[in-house]
């Protein structure tokens, strides 16, 4: 991507972060930390990588996305709103009674390809989608994003074995390695390290990336495209809460909403970042 495209992605990612904040603040609950850590990756996928069209959301040939770490739905919803699947106004009623946007992704929401949120399950459904593509001779790709805590679930490794066995090179999994889970540092709670070695041992093409650098993200997905005969995992080093100073790398923002004062501060920081980008 050139400098202009990169700047455009940075601007969009900043808007996505503002949408995440808006959603979680108005919901008075939700998961801002892990949503902010994947904001850049999701922005890249929906605005640069994936073949999707909000005007034709059910196109059988479209690329698919499964948010296996479904609790970070605010990030997905905010990206989908930016992309035009529904109004950004919807973000304000996230988690409210009767609202379109459920606490975790639901297949009935425009642009959401699979319900998810019970950890470990999204990667299996993504495998099924990739297998369907292979058996139907379709060229679409399937992307899924997992948490680094999520990979403690045994089902993830069942799915990993499956993806390699069936040579699902149309599947790309991203492990969002922000290093934190609800009870603390992943290395303290139940270490999944070494993550890259584990996936390599399961037969995957393993790529590493910086989750907050679009050049690095682009390079990683290009490496996935270049690999044939194996699924690719991108282990991305990320910062939980990225973009909001007091949330960064702080586990207490895994599943908590900001109060009014914190909301104003976070909004101010993100708006300042946006203004600087647009200047």
């Amino acid at each position: 991507m050139d400098a202009k495209e990169k700047k455009a992605l940075e601007v969009t990612a900043c808007k996505v972060r503002l949408g995440i904040l808006e959603g979680v603040f108005n919901a008075k609950s939700g998961h801002p930390g892990g949503s902010l850590s994947i904001a850049d990756t999701l922005t890249y996928l929906y605005f640069n990588k994936m073949n999707v069209d909000p005007k034709n959301p059910d196109d059988p040939d479209r690329d698919r996305f499964v948010l296996s770490k479904g609790h970070t739905a605010p990030a997905l919803y905010s990206v989908l709103a930016q992309k035009g699947y529904f109004s950004t106004e919807e973000l304000k009623s996230l988690r409210h009674i009767g609202a379109l946007l459920q606490g975790h992704p639901c297949i009935h929401i425009p642009g959401v390809d699979m319900s998810s949120g019970s950890l470990g399950q999204g990667i299996s459904t993504a495998c099924g989608m990739a297998l369907a593509g292979k058996t139907s001779g379709k060229s679409y790709k399937v992307y899924t994003v997992l948490g680094d805590g999520e990979i403690e679930e045994g089902q993830v490794w069942e799915a990993s074995m499956f993806a390699a066995h069936y040579k699902l090179d149309n599947l790309v999994a991203v492990v969002d390695n922000n290093g934190l889970q609800i009870d603390g540092r992943i290395s303290d709670v139940m270490s999944p390290y070494p993550i890259t070695d584990k996936f390599a041992a399961f037969g995957w093409n393993v790529v590493e990336a910086d989750a907050h650098d679009f050049d690095s993200i682009e390079k990683a997905f290009a490496a996935a495209d270049a690999c044939k005969g194996k699924p690719t995992v991108i282990v991305q080093k990320s910062i939980k809460g990225k973009g909001v100073s007091f949330m960064e790398d702080n586990v207490s923002w895994h599943g908590a909403a900001p109060n009014a004062e914190q909301y104003e501060q976070a909004k101010g920081e993100l708006e300042a970042a946006l203004a600087a980008l647009e200047a």
């Binding site: 059988p60 698919r64 499964v66 639901c106 297949i107 009935h108 390809d113 699979m114 319900s115 998810s116 949120g117 019970s118 470990g120 399950q121 999204g122 990667i123 299996s124 459904t125 993504a126 495998c127 099924g128 989608m129 990739a130 297998l131 369907a132 593509g133 058996t135 139907s136 399937v142 045994g154 089902q155 069942e158 799915a159 074995m161 499956f162 066995h165 069936y166």
Partner: protein
Amino acid sequence: MADVKKIATRESYGNALAELGDKYENLVVLDADLAAATKTGIFKKKFPDRFFDCGIAEANMMGVAAGLAACGKVPFASTFAMFAAGRAFEIVRNSIGYPHLNVKIGATHAGISVGEDGATHQCNEDIALMRTIPGMTVINPADDVEAKAAVEAAINYVGPVYMRFGRLAVPVFNDPATYKFELGKGVKLRDGKDISIIATGLMVAEAVTAAEKLAAEGISAEVINIHTIKPIDKEIIAATAQKTGKVLTVEEHSIIGGLGSAVCDVLCECCPTKVVKIGVNDEFGHSGPAAKLLEQFGLCADNIYVTAKEIVK
């Protein structure tokens, strides 16, 4: 029924898949290293490119089935009932039930008629578990003819379906020439006025035998086959209860949460009727030949006959 042909409904399942594979191009089959036992191996032989072994990983298999269905396939995910409904319950609920995906679950080796393998593999809880999932259709066919028809009905219905099949060979009592499977419709197999015997799965043939024995003693038993436990046929259940005033349910499943409970759910709302349940009581099974176990647990024509006689008395 001593002379009739006997076929295990798991066999019917495998045969039906293989027979329907040509007609339904989107049909694909998944198994978890049990293709020889679930009989999906019959399909695998005919359609190797549409059969996917998932290995001993039932949770992932259910998720894969969900993904296949989301992309237009009609996947049949097959394993023993214990692992389909038991081990993979939460995946079935969240990845298949909640998004209401078009996944068909072929669960074989249900109930204590698994036999020698014993309690760890005798699933007496699957109907109870599956019927609590919103939008899940639950089918428990009674014989070969019904099982094969149920498989095709499941393909033609859009949405998740749980199908329960047995390991034990059971009498084929339906006539393939005239049998018509209607999803959600009970089948009256015998008219009667003294008592209603409502049965499902392999207990249906036993119920018919019991009714014949009762008839010889002047007791007129109505026999209803409930192959679709969810959505259940409320009309046929209410009508027979109102007619006889006495209901006996029979199932090879726990008396907690299965057919008996489903029948009580219907009757307590529309026409309170005394219901006696024959099923596996609140206990685990154990090893032994299937026929002996069924007898020991009272899941046989003799016990249905004795119990019905007691109720009518």
